[in-house]
Amino acid sequence: MRYLPNSDSDRAAMIEAIGKKSVDELFDQIPADLRLRDRLNLPGPLSEPELLEFFEQASRESARDYVSLLGAGAYAHYRPVVIDALILRGEFLTSYTPYQAEISQGNLQAMFEFQTLIAQLTGMDVANSSLYDGSTATNEAVLMAMRLTHRDRVVVARTVHPEYRQVIATYVQHQGVEVVETPYAPSGQIDLAALEAAVDDQTATVVVQSPNFFGALENWAAVAEAVHKCGALLVSVITEPLSLALVRPPIEADIICGEAQSFGVPVAFGGPYVGFLATRERFIRQMPGRLVGETKDSQGRRGYCLTLATREQHIRREKATSNICTSQSLMALNATIYMCLLGKSGIRALAEQNLAKACYAADELGKVPGAAIPFRAPHFNEFVVKAPGDCGELLAALREEKIIGGLPLERFYPELKDHILVCVTEMVSRRALDRTIEVWHRFSRPVTEKVADAAAVG
């Protein structure tokens, strides 16, 4: 087998050296009736060309030829080739968690840079070196807020990503925690009056996302006031952090967490992604996840090491702040390289393109007879539009043109029948947008004619 470095003669020499007759003897410690008698029933072995063909077949059965207007927590942005040139370097790809700092300074410094970039972007004091993904980072933020406040009531806006809310529910279900969801206002933003009514002096935290699941930007100052009045902590969730290049970060928040996949990490059918969590200096000892700190070596040279490990499971065991061990270092490195490549001006220019394209699409789709833009709050690269008729049929018509037209919201919000969440990044060309708009118009015509006919008959 091509991946195995030992030859049969190597094996024979080793077996002899340890005084055994055969390698089977080494497995004598497993009771005979527990040992597998037959070979595993699996295909293979496959050579490299065969494997390429196997996965090429899977690739053919994908949406690779489609233009996609899907966002909803996973964003397709252009990935500069430099990212893979760097993250495929074996020194990054095939290294372990940097517990041995002297031979891991590369990873440690890159993680320190990630922490700094996230802190700069979010306007927070500190950030950790990554968590599994946005959904689990949000859950960790909730658990952290509960530890900090010693309260056990959690208020979550209904406009937080529905799957993030499901993850929170899974984690807190056995902790005696009450989770309350608050509605959205006609603007698509959180309903402030309902929020004020929902928060009480037992509330540990209020979780609000912006741009929220509908793409609407939240008014952080007003939200924070309502939350802090009762001594609760505000957790701000960001699933599209590119927005932070143009949109004021929620500096009023106590914890900002979310998903950094948007920074050049492949969409890859949902993962691996990279969660982040940033907060204020005074909360660092309750933060989950790995932290890299600057220090000096025995000769006074600057270096980096994992720090504040006494929060973590390998030291604290059942008393740890979190059970998480693995982070998402390679994806965090991917995001770090992406942010560095774009830099201060590039990331703004990219965000401006996203904003302009989404505005163009929203304006044009909003003009389609029978269509409507229900929520009027400002958005970034994502917005909701109501279809002129059955949205399943409209999306099917778009697929005929090789366009995946967005996410039907009814799946998560039964009251939003025929509403579609549309995301437009720089990856969607004007031509593709115009084709989309044309299909909407074509689809709307018979519908509006039908309505007109019905009116005439009536």
């Binding site: 470095p5 080494l26 496959l46 495929l88 074996g90 220090t295 059942e318 061990c325 390289i337």
Partner: protein, 497 residues
């Protein structure tokens, strides 16, 4: 002593500042195509929401970025560069082909909300991975959703909880052996249970009498790593499961050490009810400096109804669908379907080996560990002298008399050109040296590792300070970790600010 070091020589390493210290106003490393829709001045469009600047964000050219991260990379040890004998971490070769196929159009680019009929390629990869892992483990059903091992543990415990609650009482405790990985008790706490420590016996295995005593109607189950963290197969596993089952509990098997069993024995046969796998250990997905991982959870039929939503299900017509209609499910533990890309790589690994190759890999992993153990046992104290599976655990007792601890020996190993073994774990071994060569070390490299460990044992006798102050050849010497924790500096700030 230097003449004993054959595996490594000093090498030029470049100094490199933080990326922020390389920044110069006006530079960028990415250029965009012209905007093809009318521009929208963001100040006007966003109004009060507008942000004018990201303070401190770097400005660097593409070449600067390339050099910066290339230089940083040279400061890391890696599997590609050499043997990585980290016990319990299973640092095996990460085939590059797996990186190529994971980036294929569709597999690397399909959106998780793509309509199911357009994403059959991705869904079939998930289904094929599930089928292969079930064949390997002998379990009945599986979820690939957990993002890493610890999340797999938590998910498994939630499944136990859901099942027992339906029976009428979720109970209060989970038994966790004192040799267990720290994630085990931490996961127990998050799942709402309390960890009840279970002492190991003189062999380092589950003490059956102690288990009988502690296994009451208050105990929901047992978390057991098999082979355990000493690299010893728990021979009484069937009896262990019987004791737990007889009292109405369930058995969780931590599959972190599955690399010792693939193709040789199947946990499904042992009597365990639920287990997790670490795709980043046993199935070669790259650790990437500390993640991503992937921690699928496999269960017996009894626990299937509780698996996280959605499940990936093959249909009679060969298509694959996501099933969200699972009323008894514990819920969702991660957005979307888990770390899909890791499933792609794990499947590529399994297919590349095939059934005979997988068994060969296991045999090599076990042979390598036993070979290292036999060749150094005269130099280091072996507290549990039982047959080893894929790893062996020594103690620093002998070297300690000279003031040399396991951490020192580990650091000195760096000078010899190796990554250290796992230090100070499991906790039941005084000053543990936990060595897992994996199958990805050839005999010549193992011999060099053995020579290094023997040489260091001698150094500990002759010149303890040499070992205590190691490493001597790295770009930085031992770092002040106490100082780092006392006054944490967790981000760069401009000198003036």
């Amino acid at each position: 002593m230097v003449d004993r070091i054959k595996n490594a020589t000093p090498h030029m390493t470049r100094n490199e500042d933080l990326i922020f210290e390389r920044s110069t106003p006006g530079k960028t490393g990415a250029e965009l195509p012209p905007l093809d829709v009318p521009a929208r001045p963001p100040e006007r469009t966003l109004g009060d929401f507008y942000r004018s600047d990201i303070e401190g964000f770097p400005e660097i050219s593409e070449l600067d970025v390339m050099r910066h991260f290339t230089r940083l990379s040279t400061w890391n040890y890696s599997i590609d560069a050499g043997v990585y004998p980290l016990g319990s971490c299973t640092m095996k070769y990460n085939p590059r082909l797996n990186e190529t196929v994971a980036r294929f159009a569709g597999l690397g680019t399909d959106h998780p909300y793509t309509p199911e009929h357009l994403s059959q390629g991705c869904l079939k990869v998930l289904a094929d991975t599930q089928r292969a892992l079930l064949e390997i483990t002998g379990m009945d059903a599986i979820s690939l959703q957990p993002a890493a091992g610890a999340q797999g543990e938590l998910t498994g415990l939630l499944l136990i909880r859901a099942c027992l609650r339906e029976r009428g009482d979720a109970r209060r405790y989970i038994l966790v052996p004192d040799s267990a990985h720290g994630t085990n008790p931490a996961s127990v706490t998050i799942s709402g249970y309390e960890a009840l420590p279970l002492k190991s016996d003189s062999r380092g295995c589950v003490d059956l009498a102690e288990l009988e005593r502690l296994m009451t109607g208050e105990v929901a189950g047992l978390m057991l790593t098999n082979p355990n963290t000493l690299g010893i197969f728990e021979q009484d596993i069937e009896r262990v499961c019987d004791i737990v089952h007889a009292k109405g509990g369930l058995v969780y098997m931590d599959g972190a050490n599955m690399n010792a069993l693939v193709g040789v024995a199947r946990p499904g046969r042992f009597g365990v009810d639920v287990m997790h796998l670490n795709l980043h250990k046993t199935f070669s997905t790259p650790h990437g400096g500390g993640g991503p991982g992937s921690g699928p959870v496999a269960v017996k039929r009894l626990l299937e109804p509780y698996l996280p939503t959605p499940t990936v299900e093959e249909q009679p017509d060969g298509s694959v669908r996501l099933n969200y209609d699972r009323p008894r499910s514990v819920g969702r533990v991660r957005a979307f379907y888990g770390n899909f890309g890791m499933a792609v790589r794990a499947l590529a690994y399994i297919l590349a080996y095939g059934p005979a190759g997988l068994r060969q890999a296991t045999e090599d992993a076990v042979l390598n560990a036993n070979y290292v153990k036999e060749r150094i046992r005269d130099c280091y104290d072996l507290p549990y002298d039982a047959p080893s599976m894929h790893e062996c655990v020594f103690s620093d007792r002998r070297q300690e008399t000279r003031g040399v601890r396991t951490g020192d020996i580990a650091k000195r190993l760096i000078d010899y050109g190796f990554h250290p073994y796992t230090t100070s774990f499991p906790l039941i071994v005084h000053g543990a040296l936990m060595i897992e060569p994996t199958e990805s070390a050839g005999k010549p490299e193992l011999d060099a590792l053995i020579d290094a460990l023997r040489s260091i044992a001698q150094e500990a006798e002759e010149d303890p300070a040499l070992v205590q102050k190691a490493p001597h050849t790295t770009r930085v010497s031992r770092l002040d970790e106490v100082g780092a924790a006392r006054k944490p500096i967790l981000r760069w700030k401009p000198a003036s600010g």
